[in-house]
């Protein structure tokens, strides 16, 4: 049984209302791990976006062929295959970024967003809707990462996308591990505050 959903709503839900990072709190490891600069954040976001779209596409294509019992392992293998593709592509064409993101590229396999969308969306909806869902969720993820990465880079090293706008040193703690937790904490707090105001 395939369910249906309007394309516009499907696309937009991933950006704000069901933002995977800021609202659903999925995929927190790369969110915190690679956002010490805006460039890294974009790179990670786009890599995940690619895996999300491709795995959603393939899973919704084969969903009727896979027996229900071995559903999850099959999804994981499909996802792992696309992650390997991204890994090899990035190693070949963007070696510097690949080096920076390091371990977090292969770890896209266990990013709960990807498996979560496969299970919750791609295995129920049509191919087109699944691709749109992957795009929306992937962009939502990228946006959240960009927001966090920008905040940390601006506060921590007084630069944005590597462009320094002041000679003095920033607050180093924001680039280091504790800053990641604290910045994400405040961003989610602000989101909560805005949501309450609206309601």
């Amino acid at each position: 049984m395939e369910k249906t959903i309007s394309t516009k709503e499907n696309f937009l839900k991933g950006l704000v209302r069901e933002n995977p990072v800021l609202v659903l709190l999925l995929g927190c490891c790369p969110t915190l791990g690679v956002t010490s600069s805006a460039t890294n954040a974009i790179g990670m976001g786009l890599a995940t976006l690619f895996v999300l779209v491709m795995s959603n596409l393939v899973i919704s294509l084969v969903k009727n062929v896979i027996p229900d019992k071995v559903r999850i392992p099959s999804f994981i293998v499909i996802i792992a295959a696309f992650v390997t593709v991204v890994q090899l592509l990035m190693e070949a064409y963007t070696p510097a970024l690949f080096e920076q993101l390091g371990l977090f590229i292969p770890l896209i396999v266990v990013n709960c967003i990807v498996l979560g969308r496969a299970e919750a969306f791609a295995s129920r909806y049509s191919v087109g809707a699944s691709v749109v869902d992957g795009l929306g969720m992937g962009l939502g993820f990228t946006l959240a990462l960009l927001l966090l990465g920008s905040a940390r880079e601006v506060l921590g090293s007084l630069s944005w996308f590597g462009l320094k706008f002041s000679e003095s040193d920033g607050m180093l703690v924001f680039v280091l591990a504790p800053g990641a937790f604290i910045t994400l904490g405040f961003i989610i707090a602000i989101m909560n505050g805005l949501k309450k105001k609206k309601a």
């Binding site: 392992p73 792992a80 390997t84 292969p106 396999v109 266990v110 990641a180 937790f181 604290i182």
Partner: protein, 191 residues
């Protein structure tokens, strides 16, 4: 001595959760009470040690000789998922008490990125088997230490009054984790 230093550095200095950002999902998700946090921690120690040994063996004796190193990610995730299943079945048969205590955490561990992360790091660092085991034990103990401390703080925070409404829950927990990470940075000069 080398092994002792590796152990100390993985548990305290490069703590897998607070410095390397692996395993944040269980760290935030299963840390509402300290007893469940401890259960999760012990399950991770168990699975991580076993899975690191197996993935190391698979990589060294299967993938490398066959020139299939690029299949690392796919193979590892399958080996880990398979092992978690086996551990679950064996534990159920051999020690039902242990299964009672840890059973619910086992399925969650397949998607715990610490397990896959450590398995990949071991290969990246070219560790031998013994070193890999020490590395796995150190990292999983570090995970347990962090999650137990964190859950104890969260238990106290639930009783605290005066946290503003918009900071309650996840935001406050994340900021607590940040302060905890700062505290762990103090270990940096230890080795």
């Amino acid at each position: 001595m080398e092994y002792v230093i590796l152990l100390i550095s993985t548990v305290l200095i490069n703590n897998i959760v607070l410095a390397k950002f692996l395993g944040i999902c269980p760290f935030l998700g299963v840390s509402k009470s300290s007893s469940t946090a401890l259960g999760m921690g012990v399950a991770v120690i168990f699975v991580m040690t076993i899975s690191t040994v197996f993935t190391w063996l698979v990589y060294t004796y299967l993938l490398l000789p066959l020139d299939l190193a690029y299949l690392q990610t796919v193979t590892y995730i399958l080996v880990i998922a398979f092992l978690v299943q086996v551990v679950e079945i064996v534990m159920k048969k051999v020690s039902p008490e242990l299964y009672q205590a840890l059973g619910v955490y086992l399925p969650l561990i397949t998607t715990n990125c610490t397990i896959l992360g450590v398995a990949i790091l071991v290969v990246q660092n070219d560790f031998n088997l013994l070193k890999s085991v020490v590395f796995a034990v150190g990292n999983s103990v570090g995970f347990t230490l962090a999650i137990v401390i964190f859950s104890s703080i969260r238990e106290q925070m639930d009783m605290a009054e005066g946290i503003p409404a918009w900071m309650k829950g996840t935001p406050a927990a994340l900021i607590t984790a940040g302060i905890l990470a700062m505290a762990f940075m103090g270990f940096a000069g230890l080795v």
